[in-house]
Amino acid sequence: MTPPAVVSEVLRDYGAVVRDAVRAYLPPAEPRRYLYDLVADYPGRGGKMMRPSLCIAVARALGAPLDPLLIAAAASIELMHNAMLIHDDIEDESDRRRGEPTLHSLWGNAMAINAGDALAMTSLRPLLDVAAHTDPLLALGILEETEHMARESAEGQALELGWRADNVVALEERDYFEMVLKKTCWLATIHPVRLGALIAVAGRVDPTAFVRFGFFLGAAFQIQYDVLNLAGDTEVYGKETAGDLREGKRTLMIIRLLQLATADERVRLVAHLGTPMAARTGREVGWIRDRIDHYGCIDYARQVAHAMAGAALEEYARLFAPVPPSRDRAFLEGLITWVVERTS
């Protein structure tokens, strides 16, 4: 199924608004060479702008204007996302991001970590700037949501890093979804949706109602992201192919492979996952990739991603049925298809 054109149009339109807002918070200040050029690097590489567009679209679908508060919230989301990417790339020892070398590959871990810290703090600035003109309780609620999102994301990242550090392999799908709920969904989908709703109805909202929609949408997004890491076009995808296998990530496909592998294969796979990253060989990565194909793990993951999208569609219908039709509502519906059909 092809995603409707409105998805790319809205991503383009809201993306442009948010990029302008983000740029305003990344001035060419000193020390440029050691900090602010690095801080502005990832935001300047583009990106799909899914997270801030989701926030804006939810708010506008519910009747909110595209006012400074909404733009500030969306810009804050995008800045925080970029800050976390810098740190994630260091933690995952990734080589490429958005088609170019990762920040720590270019500048070293120490300067990249510092730039990530600065960018994370910068992400609060748009919210603080509009707080003085906002209902204090709503402003406090937005800050609370932001803090909670950051904590959930850190907990999810800790789960994944811990599994790799201790070479945990006794994992089931439930463990994977718990990790994804925290690591991916809060920042990618749950937080933008909740923030958009919170702003649109000035706080008169039960944000829990949006968690399911955000979770299923985010889970579909993450699984497709993992599939693209194995089966996507490197140039389009923007990261190194099979990087997740080299990094020893516990994706849904690896968990499935651990379930289906023979005893000997499992021993070999566990040994690879327990090997320090620098010592992992391309030969072993190629063998795991072959076993993944052999056992149909990618097809399995694609089917689960589509099921997640189906669940997201149901939650979308439940939430937005009373909302009048609009371009933003159509975007939200189309986005569900987009996350599982995208190629980058």
Binding site: D67, L138, E144, R204, A307, E314
Partner: protein, 252 residues
């Protein structure tokens, strides 16, 4: 069956699809009985295939997280302002739902408690003054110098001490105000960030307010109050970042 008799099929068990994810699982595990959700009475039998097991696991995870709760956001039904679009038709989730108290609810409750407490103390002070002349003067009695047109001088309204911290009010406004300070003896720097009215009053907070300790006397400075509607405004007095007392202002 006779030739003219119409065939009749049994009524369908359900008339709309059971999505294989959240709805189905919630019908089995999370929907409370009597919730009105027809799926609650029809436990969904999950197919035993790998994809369905994964979907079921995902539903289990999110339902567990939702039941555990997040306790965030603003209380449903609280006073609203800001960018709310008038005339919009809000879905059911936008109106009040019971749940764990959020920070916003705590703030509202504390504001309400301050107001109630201020009214109660006002009544109590009136009684105390009536039965104990000369006593109970820890609160500022409304006097001629404190009414409208008070000169902006710290000594305009001398405060009495009744074994507690003395305090003085400096009014830089023509507006008459009733002021009450509840504060234990403190020595450090004090601050007050603002005084708020109950949410229902929809009044802007009083931010032109300050408090300081000078020569053992708490000096409360109130600035422009002309734009504020009548009502009771209250806020916390902080010492070293911790709440140590309350300041209440009533405008008539």
């Amino acid at each position: 069956m006779s030739e003219g008799e119409r065939k009749r099929r049994p009524d369908p068990v359900r008339t709309d699809p059971v999505r294989q994810a959240s709805g189905a699982f919630r019908g089995e595990a999370a929907a409370p009985s009597g919730s009105g959700d027809p799926r609650a009475a029809q436990p969904y039998t999950w197919p035993d295939d790998p994809v369905s097991r994964a979907v079921r696991a995902s539903c289990d995870v999110v339902e567990t997280a939702v039941r555990r709760g997040f306790g965030l956001g603003r209380p449903p039904g609280a006073g609203a302002s800001g960018s709310s679009a008038p005339g919009a038709s809000w879905p059911a989730w936008a109106s009040g739902r019971p749940g764990p108290w959020t920070t916003g609810q705590w703030v509202d409750a504390m504001t309400g408690a301050f107001t109630l407490w201020a009214q109660w103390m006002d009544a109590w002070a009136g009684m105390a003054r009536s039965v104990m002349p000369g006593e109970g003067a820890a609160m500022w009695p409304p006097g001629p110098t404190a009414q409208a047109g008070s000169p902006p001088s710290p000594s305009a309204v001398p405060a009495a001490s009744a074994g507690a911290l003395r305090f003085t009010v400096e009014l830089r406004t023509a507006r008459a105000a009733w002021v009450q300070l509840d504060l234990p003896p403190v020595t450090g720097a004090l601050e007050v960030h603002g005084l708020v009215a109950p949410p229902a009053a929809a009044a802007p907070p009083i931010t032109d307010v300050a408090i300081a300790i000078t020569d053992g006397c708490a000096v409360v400075t109130l600035g422009s109050l002309e734009q504020h509607p009548a009502g009771t405004y209250a806020g916390a007095v902080l010492s070293a970042g911790r709440a140590c007392g309350t300041l209440t202002v009533r405008l008539s």
